[in-house]
Amino acid sequence: MTDQGLLIQTLVELADNLVDDFDVVELLSLLADRCVELLGVSAAGVMLVAPEGEVRVVASSSEAMRVVELFELQADEGPCPDCCRSGEAVINEDLATAGGRWPRFAPMAMQAGFRSVQALPMRLRGSIVGALNLFSAEPGALTVADVAAGGALASVATIAVLQQRVAAESRLLNDQLTHALNNRVVIEQAKGVLAERTGLSMEAAFEALRHYARDHNLRLSDVARSVIDKSLPPGALA
C-alpha cells in the first residue's frame, strides 16, 4: 500500500524541481528512485519518445533495469515499447506467462531477475511523451492504489518533459535571433565603412557587398566582417 504522506512529499519535491533551469534527466532519475521507494517495485525507469518518434532510455533506478530497457529498444519488444506505441498502460504482466506476447523480452527480463512488469504512459492529450516503467521481482506487485500513485508521478514527469521542450525551443529561437541580429549589425557596419571609404550610397554599398559575396560564393556576413577588419580592401568591392 502506498504511503500517502511520502507520495505527497515526493510530488512536492518534484514540483519544486520544476524551476526555470531544471535538468530534466536529473528530475526523471529522481522520479525513478522515488518510484522504487513509494511503490515497492524492484526497479523503475523512464523512456521518452522524441518529437521525431525515436524512443530513448532517459533514467533507470538500477543498472539491471537499464540493461533490460535497452534490450527492449533493441528488440523493439516489451511493455515499454508497447506502452509508448499505444499510450495504454501495461499492468502486472507476469513474465512467466508472457512468452507468447514477448518471446525475446520475457525470458531475458526473467534472467535479469524480474518477474512482473508494468508500464504507465506519460501522455498529454493526444501526444505520448514516454512511459514510466516499473519492474518487480515478484508477480502481481502493484495494487490499484499503487497504479494510481504511479499515474500521478507519471503526470508530473510529463509536465517536466514538456516544460523542458518549450524551454529548449525558446533558447534555440533566442540564439537564432541574437545570431541574426549580430549578422545584420555587421552588415550595416560594413555598409558604413564601405560608403565612407568609397563615397558610395548605403544602397550601392549594400549591392557591392552582395555582389562580391555572390561572385565569390561567400556568406554576406563573412564578407562584411572582412570589410570591417580590413582584410578585404574597399577597392576590391567597388
Binding site: 525558446s170 535571433l177 541574426a180 555598409k191
Partner: protein, 228 residues
Amino acid sequence: MACHRLLRILARIEDGGPGPARLCEVSADLMAMTGAGIMLMSGEVPRGSVCSSNEVSALIEDLQYTLGEGPCVDAYRQDRPILEADLAARGAARWAAFTPEALAAGARAVFGFPLHVGAVRLGALNLYRDRPGPLDDDQHADALVLAGVAARAVLAMQAGAPPGRLGTELEGGADLRFVVHQASGMVSAQLDVSVGEALIRLRAHAFADHRPLDEVAQDVVGGRLRFA
C-alpha cells in the same frame, strides 16, 4: 489576476493580427499607462525596440539605448521588475543621465518588466505614465502576464526565419537601429578606429548634445556630421 482579464489581453492581441506595433498599443491601453514599449536586449546591452506605443515611449527607449541605463536595462540585467513610481523624487537619481531627460520628455513614473521564457532572457517591457504613482496589485500582476505574452510573441516573430536572418516581422516592424551601425561603420573609417570604439564616440556625442543616438547617426549617414 482575474482570469477574464488575462483572456482579454490574449484576445486583444490576436484581434490585432500580427505585428509588433499592436503589442505595445495593447499593453499601454490595458495597463492604463500613457505609453508602452518593448526593448530587445542581448549580451547585456539594448539592441533595439520591438515597438513603442507613442513618441515619448520611443524616446524613453532611445534614451536607454543611447545611455545604456534606465528601467528596461535594469529589469533585463537584474531579471526582476524595476518600479520607479516617481522619477522626480530624490531616489530616482539612480539613473543620473536617464532621469532628467525622461522627465523633460514628460514621463513621471516608469516601470520595467523583464521579458523571459523560462531562463531565456530577451529584453524588457517598458511602461510609463505622465503622472507619478505606483502600480496597483492588479496592474503589477497584469504587467507580469503581458511581459510573458510579449516574450513569446517576440520569439514567435523569429520562428521560421531562414538561418542567420531575422524574422520578417522583426525585420520590417521593429526599430533595430540599423542607421546607428551604418554610422558606426562610417565613423570607424573616418577615425581609423574599431567599429566598437566608433559606437562609443557616437554615444558620447549624442549624450553631450542631448540628442537621441538615432538622430546623430542620421546626420553622420547624411554627411551633415563628420568626426574627422
